[in-house]
Amino acid sequence: MATKVLRKSHAFYDTYFRNPSPDKKMLHYCPGCGHGNVHKMIAEALEDYDVADKTIFISPVGCSVFAYYYFATGNIQAAHGRAPAVSTGIKRAHPDSIIISYQGDGDLAAIGTAEIIHAANRGECITVFFVNNAIYGMTGGQMAPTTLVGQKTTTSPMGRRPSNEGYPIKVAELISQLHAPVYIERVSLHDNKQRAKARLAIRKAIKCQVDKLGFSLVEILSPCPSGWKMDPVDSMRWIEETMQENFPLGVYRDLTKEAEPYTPEILNPTAEAILNLLDIDTELDFKYERKNPPEKYKNPEMKVAGFGGQGILLLGGAMAQAGMLENYHVSWLPSYGPEMRGGTANCHVNIRDIEVGSPMVSDPSVLIAMNRPSLEKFEQDVKKGGLIIYDSSLIDIEPTRKDIEILAIPATKMADQLGNTRIANMVVFGAYMGYTGLMGKETLYESLKTAIKHKRFLDINVKAIDAGYQFGSDNQAG
């Protein structure tokens, strides 16, 4: 016949070696404190479900900050209020673990309000034990968010006044308003019957995690004789007669029968698969023949400017992409006007034989102006001997500079004739290259492959480049 041997749970250390106190067998809690009860119930449940080895206990800030003295599990000590966030991190890292987030009322319901609400709302598969003793124990009896109306503490010496401090926060009720939590119950430690219920609730909450059902929270009304300045017997009576009234016991949510177990999918791709998944194509090899443009067109420092929506940044990106394909050093830097909507967008592009120093182009050797404000704004910045290309179908003025080359191209009109005004940018892309001879058309086509996201637009963009390239080379400077 089996006999029940009364002994300490194996989820506790036999000797509390981390405790600096000479007595390695005793807990550090005050006489009459509820933490010891709760610890014992948790440890017994962990042993009974045979999960102690894969449990990680998150110690909070508060009296239970040293919970790691006792639990023979993995232990992490968290910052004040952050235990649910720390729990989230470790649970996501080790989905098969059992995470116990153990928190007091200051930790959970004051400084860590955001963390508990959101961990609960995400339905993190963790178990939270919320020890509510209506006071800050460790710091010496200050008011907690759960301190009762009229209750005297060191920071509410006249008693908690709703007009100044508001009302006690009811955590079980609050969390039960959320969709995701699976199991929420409030229990108490004030007599044997309640302790037996608390024990069952604690077991159920842990089982909920063992079964991978989701978030569970047990709020435990727990005595703090030192903080309350009562003896342990009066403390129990105070819970029964006063605290319970404010914090009704009971099950606030129980979906343990309905909830489906959830196990996250484990992916562990090979090195080669990782590169593909990151859109890094290891096979890319583009053969090109670098052209030899006139010296004045080499190493362009470009500013490309126009309306937002004209594909200005894309045009600059295509320039840089083409340069990179021909193994030039390139840089592309976007710079939006503060008036982006309906205003100007511009970007800076460098295509150089040697490393690009500053990516910023304040005095461009090439200005591509796709609208009038851009031409007006940047014309004077262009270097002497530089080049301005502008869309003459949209800009009704002409540049005034006489010391630079100017290519006026009716880009938008040409694009319209090809079927879509939005490819005016690619007309100009072709025109610039055709005019200067910096790069061949093959490189421009290749650059489109990354610049144009939707493959169905490739053809029309190729046509735009062809038309622009032709226009550019037909209008080269004598």
């Binding site: 110690s59 992490i76 966030a85 470790i90 080790h94 955001a114 592309w332």
Partner: protein, 349 residues
């Protein structure tokens, strides 16, 4: 391997994943949101986790938890968000948890603006949170370095069990440049101090509590020894045209790119000037600076802040030479021409 034209912020995401990082916890903030967006897209693809946290505070504490679990984890933010994370970073430093924190700096103080500034030097390089700790800080100045230094940051973090910063600005984050990617890291060793939720690791404890003053002093001495080791082994800097230099300009991040062009142009005018670019801000390249100071080089530090790094340079030269500051604030990036003009006026060259 092929090159890719990519934004610095995107290169950080790729670099982190190639380094074997699989956990990203973050909160959106301009100009760092692209990192979160890229992480949301790519982390799950390779079996990782992306989680948008409820706050910066929660995000760094999720990193704390995941890192305690022995895996590579990161977060990214911008200046005001970093202020919020400082609590968690102090805890991670105290508990000796390796992780990577990216700061794409913006203008401050307060809400400031979203333009690039370098005014977080002090809050990042000097520790920033409470307690006696430092955090290695890597300051990339190109899209390529955004990738390669992110990878390096994870190695340094694991080697020393310390949080590591990537400190960059909006320009380096937004700029597209060619990036070459190395092979991905796949087999990372188990960490004997971490909690893996298994029998072998169940006696491990992640904590920064040392209640006894003598124990806490001992822990702090250990941390300081670690920082001394980092100072010995991990300094990185770029030297450009310094061999015969009489004048030295210093700057990091986007400023160093401006300075490089300025040095090139001044060299064309026969000015003997060179650039010293710290790539690690902690550890700081003290020896390199001191060696130039005793050769009587005159220093000009250019910063997009009220002059924060310049204090470290002045401390390092120990009065052996002059150290000037040229600075812009509020998100104004100095142009090459204004820097050249300042140098010519200041040094009459």
């Amino acid at each position: 391997m092929a090159k890719y034209l990519m934004k610095g912020n995107d290169a950080i995401v790729r670099g982190a994943l190639l380094a074997g990082c699989r956990f990203y916890f973050g909160y959106p903030i301009t100009p760092a949101s692209e990192i979160a967006e890229g992480a949301a897209r790519y982390f799950p693809k390779v079996g990782g986790t992306f989680l948008q946290a409820e706050s910066e505070v929660a995000a760094i504490n999720m990193v704390y938890g995941a890192s305690g679990g022995g895996i590579r984890a990161m977060t990214a933010s911008s200046s005001p968000g970093i202020s919020l994370k400082q609590e968690g970073i102090s805890y991670a430093a105290g508990a000796e948890l390796p992780c990577v924190i990216v700061n794409i700096m913006r203008g401050g103080p307060g809400l400031g603006n979203i333009a690039p500034e370098q005014s977080d030097y002090n809050q990042v390089v000097k520790g920033g949170g409470h307690g006696n700790y430092k955090v290695p800080v890597l300051a990339p100045n190109s899209a390529q370095e955004m990738c390669s230094l992110t990878m390096k940051a994870f190695d340094i973090a694991d080697k020393y069990r310390a949080p590591v910063y990537i400190l960059a600005d909006g320009y380096i984050g937004q700029m597209m440049e060619p990036v070459e990617f190395p092979e991905p890291v796949t087999d990372l060793p188990r960490k004997d101090w971490a909690v893996y939720a298994d029998k072998e690791s169940k006696d491990n404890l992640i904590s920064s509590i040392y209640l006894d003053p003598y124990e806490l002093e001992k822990h702090n001495r250990k941390l300081q020894k670690k920082y001394a080791e980092i100072e010995k082994n991990e300094i990185m800097c770029e030297k450009f045209m310094l061999e015969d230099a009489e004048y030295v300009v210093m700057g990091y991040g986007i400023v160093s790119r401006v300075l490089k062009t300025a040095v090139e142009k001044l060299r064309d005018k026969k000015v003997k000037i060179g650039l010293l670019r710290p790539i690690t801000l902690f550890p700081f390249p003290k020896k390199e600076i001191y060696d130039l100071a005793v050769k009587n080089c005159k220093f000009l530090v250019v910063e997009m802040s009220n002059g924060q790094m310049v204090e470290d340079v002045r401390l390092t030269v120990q009065g052996k030479t002059t150290v000037d500051l040229y600075n812009r604030m509020g998100g104004v990036v100095p142009t090459t021409d204004e820097v050249i003009e300042h140098i010519q006026n200041r040094f009459s060259v």
